[in-house]
Symmetry: C2
DNA sequence: GATAATTGATCAGTATGCTGATTATCAGTA
DNA sequence: TACTGATAATCAGCATACTGATCAATTATC
């Protein structure tokens, strides 16, 4: 029987734990209380103002039911505004606030730094290769989780 | 600004989501209701009968407060027995039950299969390299999370 | 042997992440 | 127009993960 500790699923869980811990530590050191998930949402909304929650979920590969709570907390912190859409009364349009924009800009250096820390055991070439393999594996497995990445088509992106 | 979707932290989160989904799907297809975390705990206890919860946490890199709930649920399912230790009345000794052993043996092929599915986008060489890089990065970052791996020393292992 | 420091387990609280259901709304069709 | 199906958001419930605290028991120190 293979040692469970040496299975890819287990290794990934451990690296994910390290990645989250490093992210939070770097963000806190920079004076921000933001989780990786909250940062990703904030960043995506900043680049796509006015999107609804389902589109946001697809952009960053979140589960749709998880989004509600994440957005709740960002609204609570004053970093996002959530308003009913006039085009579709089921949907909520998400906008980043002034403070959200300042937070995003302020925390980004810490986020970049965190990526280096979590990969500190790898050389530059190894980091590139690691990310290439991650991208490749994720692309092949995208549809296997309930929260696949959904690229916004050119149609949706320009118009709406 | 770098696309958040292309940062290692984000890529790892997505791969972890896929890995968990694949694991659960394969386990369910084989007739078992077991999470990756529960499998890891069961497996570790099976190979180290009588260990306490802190040692278990170190063996598989869990947070000590998470272990309580995981063990609770495995005891609930009848796969584990948890008894107070006579050597240290603070500690609980964990034993795998007959049914736990049957479950472990029965589900293991599905667990092995899951590892292949989650890496289906990679060639055999790429899988090896991916795991090598994961191991290397984790080793370097082990102490950065609250749940580092703690190998059982020869001393502790033989005795008890 | 008394005291201090440490340790094993648990708990309260918070944040992802999932399954499956519900509600309101929208879109297509007979 | 009435009906059907699909969709956006939310909810209840469950399972990881973490922070920080508490309690009981053990170990170390004086």
């Amino acid at each position: 029987m293979r040692d469970n500790n040496d299975m890819p699923g287990h290794l990934v869980r451990r690296f994910q734990q390290i990645a989250v811990a490093v992210f939070r530590a770097e963000a806190e050191a920079a004076g921000y209380d933001l989780t990786p998930v909250q940062y990703a949402a904030l960043s995506a909304i900043g680049m796509n103002p006015g999107i609804d929650q389902v589109t946001l979920a697809g952009l960053i590969a979140y589960d749709r039911t998880t989004i509600t709570g994440v957005v709740d907390r960002l609204v609570q912190k004053g970093l996002l505004a959530r308003n009913p859409s006039r085009k579709d009364r089921r949907a909520r349009e998400l906008q980043i606030t002034e403070e959200g924009m300042r937070t995003l800009q302020g925390v980004t250096p810490a986020v970049e730094a965190a990526q280096g820390v979590m990969l500190r055991g790898l050389t530059e070439e190894e980091r590139e290769e690691f990310m290439r393999l991650l991208r490749k594996a994720i692309t092949a497995g995208n549809e296997l989780s309930r929260a696949p990445l959904r690229e916004v088509s050119a149609d949706e992106a320009k118009g709406s």
